[in-house]
């Protein structure tokens, strides 16, 4: 496994209309554009296989935006982000699951979307159900799930795709202690096999379990990059 992530001069721009709603460039031509803001600005970072890296910083500093850019969910407006390796991600509070579908249906949908053949995805459903520990809830609509249950489901499906790069946003903080241990074990397995784990959040103790390096983001740019304890101390002092 030779997973790598490289961002060069990465910029993600958000356009707003006059009522401060986010708009697309084409819509900006149809409506009067109000203002713009850079979620990430001239960001440079290189992550090599075997590295666990924590993204720390205040809310709105660009942690989620960077994770989404790495996942390919957001496309750079300037610069580039190059990712080598299969990506598994858990990037939002709803953990990428749709409320109207059951856990089983969501698992099948996500498994197919991450690239598993339909037959393989179907065959994996019972294993996914066991791993999530959701029991009978697996066949109930996700709208009846707690945030932690959604995160469990989302994580297990992401894990099932055998990712070489694992991206975790603050959602893993919604997990209970038993499942946090499972997440940490999965992260260590990926790291030991030469993969990458990028995790963002405010629970620094959790991040430290699988991140030796930290990136402190501030207003969309890198403020500090280095060993986890050093960067965290600098961040906490500044905060």
């Amino acid at each position: 496994m030779s997973a790598t992530i490289e961002a060069q001069g990465l910029g993600i721009r958000f356009l707003f209309d006059r009522e401060r709603r986010v708009i697309t460039p084409i819509l900006g031509k149809l409506r009067r554009r109000g203002s713009e803001a850079w979620g990430l600005h001239e960001l440079n970072v290189e992550i090599r296989g075997g590295e666990g890296i924590a993204l720390i910083g205040r809310s709105g500093s660009g942690k989620t935006t960077l994770l989404r850019a790495i996942a390919g969910v957001l496309v750079p407006d300037v610069g580039s982000v190059t990712v080598h390796g299969r990506v598994g991600s858990l990037l939002s509070v709803d953990a990428g699951v749709m409320s109207v579908l059951t856990g089983r249906e969501n698992a099948l949908l996500r498994a197919v979307l991450v690239g598993l053949p339909r037959a393989e995805a179907r065959a994996a459903l019972e294993e996914i159900r066991e791993r999530t520990g959701l029991g009978a809830y697996f066949d109930r609509p996700v709208s009846s799930y707690s945030l932690g249950m959604r995160a469990r489901l989302g994580f297990v499906v992401a894990e099932r795709a055998d990712p070489e790069i694992l991206l975790l946003d603050e959602v893993h903080e919604a997990l209970d202690h038993d499942f946090r241990r499972i997440v940490a074990e999965c992260a260590h397995t990926i790291l030991q096999s030469g993969g990458i784990v990028v995790a963002a959040g405010h629970d620094h103790e959790m991040l430290k379990r699988f991140c030796a390096r930290a990136l402190w983001l501030d207003r969309g740019s890198v403020r500090a990059d280095g060993p986890f304890d050093e960067v965290r101390s600098a961040y906490l002092e500044a905060a």
């Binding site: 958000f14 697309t24 084409i26 969910v73 979307l113």
Partner: protein
């Protein structure tokens, strides 16, 4: 329950329009119920596709924010989902044929082509509808009203053949007209649909696809910013 409601909707619409045409307008024609069904059924695919395509991007917010996949699949999936439900509404045509004693003829061979045209038109509308629903969320209801207006600006309640002159030709500009005429030719009149009735709605759908698909493909990279 929801799917059952969708399947029953054409039956309810047909009942309302039948009362309107036969009682209020007092224009009972040849097999009025079957003629109406030949408009209601193909329109059902168009209107349900547009209605569901309008919020299709925002309702998939959770997966759009979490993973990368070809977002072009969203309007396609919306259309195909409606095609599956649409199949059941053909019971309405079969029922009307039985009630009016109209048997199938060799023109039924044109049905697969009529269906293909119907799907192309619905798919062609699904892409602009998805973008419109994302760009102008507050105007979604007007988009549905616009499509419903097209239904009444086509020979939906009365056959195209009862119009003449300028009105006859103007009605042809509406892509739904060719579709309704085709269904009536296949199920009611038992004759080969004229070429324009198939080509115009199909061409209209393909033109919409040709224009809006490149825009959609460009915009898909921005969806995660806008649905947040």
């Amino acid at each position: 329950m929801f799917a059952t409601g969708l399947m029953l909707e054409p039956f309810a619409l047909l009942g309302i329009y039948l009362v309107f045409v036969a009682v209020v307008l007092n224009r009972p024609g040849t097999a009025t119920g079957l003629s109406l069904a030949c408009a209601v059924v193909p329109f059902q695919l168009v209107i349900t596709t547009v209605t569901n395509a309008l919020p299709s991007i925002t309702t998939r917010r959770s997966i759009i924010l979490n993973m990368t996949f070809n977002r072009v699949l969203i309007p396609i999936a919306t259309t195909l989902t409606e095609v599956a439900v649409f199949g059941a509404s053909f019971l309405l045509i079969a029922l009307m044929m039985a009630i009016y004693g109209v048997g199938p003829t060799s023109s039924i061979a044109w049905l697969p082509i009529a269906l293909a045209v119907n799907v192309i038109l619905a798919l062609g509308l699904a892409f602009p509808a998805a973008l419109f629903g994302l760009w102008f969320r507050e105007l979604r209801v007007f988009a549905i009203s616009f499509i419903r207006t097209l239904f009444f600006l086509a020979p939906s309640l009365v056959p195209h053949s009862v119009t003449s002159g300028v009105a006859y030709n103007l009605l042809k500009l509406n892509p739904l007209t060719g579709l309704f005429d085709t269904y009536r030719d296949v199920f009611l009149y038992g004759r080969t649909p004229p070429a324009w009735a198939l080509l115009y709605p199909a061409g209209f759908g393909l033109l919409l696809l040709a224009v809006t698909l490149p825009v959609y493909r460009r915009e898909q990279h921005q969806f995660a910013k806008v649905v947040e």
